[in-house]
Amino acid sequence: MGETIDTRWFEPARLNLLVGLLTFIAFLAINIRRAHASHEGLFIRPLAGLKALDEAIGRATEMGRPVLYLPGSGDMSEVGTLAAITISSRVARRVADLGCDLRVPCYDPVVAALIDGTTREAYREANRADSFRPGSVYYVSATQFAYVASVTGTMLRDRPAANIFMGSFYAESLFLAETGNLTGAIQIAGCDQVTQLPFFVCSCDYTLLGEELYAASAYLGREPNQLATIAAQDWAKALAAAAVVLALLLSAIGHPEFGQLLKTS
């Protein structure tokens, strides 16, 4: 009944994935050493959205209105949510320095617990632990449109001066961005869901496209190790592009088997 019990210790069909993973880890190690070796640090092209982040928080502080940070409506299985958490700790640090009011309504309860921790830590590091307002990071509902109903209500009633959307957003992206646009807030978005990018591009002032969301936390931190991961990604991108071109050339002259190496079970 059903296939026999599997007792193999390695899946040969996934060898190519293992090679890919080890290659990437090697790129990471090399670039970390490169980053520490070069004194002025690795070059990374500027991202307009992240420069605007500081201006937006500054403007909110001047106007005495809150900053709204939305970590996405993905759960922890979406890596975009992990990126949203790392970015939230940078944003919280800038907010703590300037002393303005931060609101972080969360879709996922685990994300709420994590960001509550990173925000308290940020205020402690800015040695303003006393001005942290418990409840500024709060769980709303792990139901997509109940979360949207509550957040749009907050947008219209508390009128935040800056709306920051970071993480995995789905169909509700347009609802949130259009409502925010209605209130006149400056809006900065970063999202890894390709189908939602057009809506953020149309309704926000700045949009970090796809992997720019993942580069953001390294940008804001500017630590050598973090910048090294971006360089490693670039090396992998160049390798991927070269592999595709090479495979196509080979198959054009009658050797399509190189392309088969990329097949996975």
């Binding site: 500027p46 959205g49 449109f145 591009v201 002032d205 949009t207 970090l208 496209l209």
Partner: protein
């Protein structure tokens, strides 16, 4: 005169978005109340799905998995009704199940509409097994032991006692799989049902999702693809029936025309006033 004209274009540029909302609301309601029944041409993908059901020998059973919840029923509920009616009309017996907790309520309504329209009866023309949690684990289980997964049907009858379920135990007992889904559940049926157990399969999906499944059609992993409300309308046309989808097509066309006209109007106003708004945003 130029100032007057310029004033008009300025007002267009600065129009209150609630006028646009009103236009969209009217553009949706009017065609439902006064239908025009614009012709709907059936596309090859939907015809392929229709023909796949036509090709199933009369009297055999088909597995139907209806995986959607109320918030995306708009596109998939009319599709379920049309496909169910087609199965009943061809005297096929759909064995129906769902992997969504809130699915049963919708399926009961679809069954009520389809069975009254085609005169089908429970336990004679269809079996409704109800909801089972576990997503991929359930689809894997369908490959081995359906009655183990569903000891009772939705109405509480034990599946061993249902005559229609007698020779049914796994995917291999079905000449055709039908999955109408708004999520990655479609991938599980394609990977397990269609590929591993080599069952012919047709897929119904929301319009946004459908484009991601074109490759599976060209690789023949699925025989047909019904995409969104337009796909459901095309299926209704092939069935010669007028359901919610075909009634919705007039409203779709009108609202799309309204949006296109608004966009053209906005650009005309832009050129008339020569106004340049700051760029849209995006990377450096």
């Amino acid at each position: 005169m130029a100032a007057g004209r310029n004033g008009f274009w300025q007002r267009i540029l600065g129009i209150d978005r609630r006028w646009i909302f009103l236009l969209v609301g009217i553009g949706t309601a009017l065609p439902l109340i006064f239908p025009v029944n614009l012709p709907v041409a059936a596309s090859p993908r939907v015809k392929a799905a229709y023909n796949a059901i036509e090709a199933v020998p009369e009297g055999s059973r088909v597995l139907m998995s209806l995986d959607y919840e109320p918030d995306i029923m708009a596109e998939l509920q009319p599709m379920s009704i049309a496909v169910l009616r087609h199965c009943f009309r061809r005297h096929l017996t759909p064995i129906i199940l769902t992997l969504y907790p809130a699915g049963p309520g919708l399926i009961e309504r679809a069954l009520a509409v389809a069975s009254t329209a085609e005169g089908a009866k429970n336990y004679q023309d269809y079996v409704f097994l109800g909801y089972k949690s576990g997503n991929q684990a359930v689809v894997l289980g369908l490959g081995e032991n359906i009655k183990g997964l569903f000891p009772k049907d939705f109405y509480g009858a034990s599946t061993d006692s249902i005559t229609l379920m007698r020779h049914v135990n796994s995917f291999t007992d079905f000449p055709l799989l039908i999955d109408l889904s708004g999520s990655t559940i479609a991938d599980y049926y394609i990977r397990i049902g269609a590929s591993r157990y080599h069952r012919p399969m047709i897929l119904g999906a929301t319009a946004v999702m459908a484009t991601d499944y074109y490759p599976y059609l060209s690789s023949r992993q699925i025989l047909g693809l019904i995409g969104g409300m337009k796909g459901a309308a095309e299926y209704e046309r092939l069935m010669g029936i007028v359901g919610d989808a075909r009634r919705g097509m007039d409203a779709q066309s009108l609202v799309h025309v309204i949006v296109v006209i608004l966009v053209l109007l906005g650009n005309a106003a832009l050129f008339a006033t020569g106004g340049i708004k700051p760029r849209i945003g995006g990377g450096s």
